[in-house]
Symmetry: C2
Subunit: 307 residues, 2 copies
């Protein structure tokens, strides 16, 4: 019998990543499968089992080594009762008792969690915010996800929607958001909003990478786009910062790959709005764990649950 292993699953709208994590908190085996067809719950379970067998053969492990699994999901979940509350990208999973459903297929306990919370936990334990006890994690992608670590623990809130920094409003009036709010940060800096802005400014389609690279080479229009994005992000964060005073803000997700051209205006805007006693104390850092954050966080969370 080898080391204990912990299964981490990061269910995304398009792809689902899986990994086996050891006691040294390293991923020893990883796999990615398409998320298509997951609305069919039995199919989802079969795909998990198939992926699990792949992971085990990949690292030469035994099923008996796996002590627990954590599954991160792209929407609000009732982590205590193991119920998926609602998912935008996977139909028919609303109010779905996923944990009790999966029970029959696995020899180890299964826990579920919101994916941004998993990422926040991983970055706060192993990544950009290591050592900090109060952390805000932001993922900039199609949507803007948020996860909150307070006193080293995931903050879920009484309605399991804690940490939704993407839905902090950035204007008194503005675009409606599918979340039910208005003028949410996500409407202004999500992938779709940036793409629309690029089209308007350049009168053609450019990738985010191209616009980042243009900005680095001094292109005014490109710089202005990232400046505006950063201003909104920093503004939304500053309200949360003045209320929660986190030690570290971790910025991740595909859009964050823009790098300094985006991070600088975020920091500038944040510095403009935060209280003087917090200036210099609250650090803004880019996520360190990249695509692994979700899998690691889900596995670490599950590991904590059984310890």
């Amino acid at each position: 019998m080898g080391d204990k292993l912990y299964l981490g699953v990061d269910v995304g709208g398009t792809y689902t990543k899986l990994g086996l994590v050891n006691d040294a908190r390293r991923i020893v085996s990883r796999h990615t499968i398409p998320s298509q067809g997951f609305s069919d719950k039995a199919f989802f379970a079969r795909e998990l089992l198939a992926a699990l067998s792949f992971l085990l053969s990949e690292c030469g492990g035994y099923l008996s080594q796996i002590k627990v699994a954590g599954i991160g999901l792209p929407g609000p979940v009732d982590a205590e009762r193991g119920i998926v509350l609602s998912l935008t990208n996977i139909a028919k999973w609303n109010n779905f008792g996923l944990v009790s459903y999966l029970k029959r297929f696995f020899s180890f306990p299964v826990f579920i969690e919101n994916d941004a919370n998993c990422m926040a936990l991983a970055e706060s334990q192993l990544g950009a915010a290591r050592g900090a006890s109060h952390v805000i994690c932001l993922t900039l992608g199609t949507g803007v996800g948020g996860g909150l670590i307070l006193e080293k623990k995931i903050y879920r809130g009484p309605f399991f929607l804690g940490g939704e920094v993407g839905h902090v409003p950035v204007a008194l009036s503005g675009k409606h958001c599918p979340c039910g709010g208005e003028a949410c940060l996500e409407r202004y800096v999500g992938n779709g909003a940036i793409t629309a802005r690029i089209k308007k400014e350049f009168a053609r389609t450019l990738s985010l990478e191209e616009v980042s690279s243009l900005a680095r080479r001094g292109d005014r229009k490109a710089i202005k786009i990232w400046d505006d994005m950063g201003r909104y992000i920093g503004f939304a964060l500053s309200g949360v910062v003045n209320v929660l005073n986190p030690e570290v803000i971790v910025v991740g997700g595909g859009v964050s790959l823009a790098g300094d051209v985006l991070m600088r205006p975020i920091k500038r805007s944040l510095c403009k709005h935060v209280m003087k006693h917090l200036k210099g104390k609250v650090k803004v850092k880019r996520a360190l764990l990249g695509n692994d954050a979700g899998v690691l966080g889900a596995a670490l969370l599950a590991k904590e649950k059984i310890e």
Copy 2:
């Protein structure tokens, strides 16, 4: 020997309120003294002792009945180490080890806390948010104070500035704030801002009561003033609500006496911006404990500390 008693002190910029609280969490004796001269620490200690003797004779109590004291202060304090970090209204108290200073004068332990945190604790245990475990407390007065209760405990944050809802920014650019931020809620809805707005609209000075009463009688200008105030307050709260999902928001302080003419636009603005899964779940209520909240909260907090 009678019941156990707990001393609560609520130090304000102008007046300081004191009360003896019993095990039934009722104030059995109360007193108010001017805060003038408190920069002189020895004078502050003498005033406390004099007030304490007044409180005891008032309720026929004995010093030996008092088990602990809690002092609420209008600024950030390091509650763990008993240090006042900074006070706007009392000079020379910055980084002052108040608890260790007072030790020589009292036969019981003394604890300090931020006053808005005391109010939040009292309202969540005995007042408008009784029974809730996640509460945001807002005090609308000269400044806009904020206190946060998460999982039934005061949230202080790693830098002791937790809960400062008054310093959530409400515009990307705007008025500078003495806190070091820009466009803070307090700049838009603090007493000074409302008074300036009244002068502008009515071309003369009217009290807040007069404007509330005008609004209740349908005066357009008065209604517009409260609508705008409510819009800003609701906007600032909604970002915090989408991140923390409190069950109850308690609105107190002198300005909140405006009543429904202010509460209605706050609720409207909040409802516009919060996520649909939270609509109807997050209640907005007026504070119930009024002037007693600070004294009660300080005493309750101190009581918890020794239990």
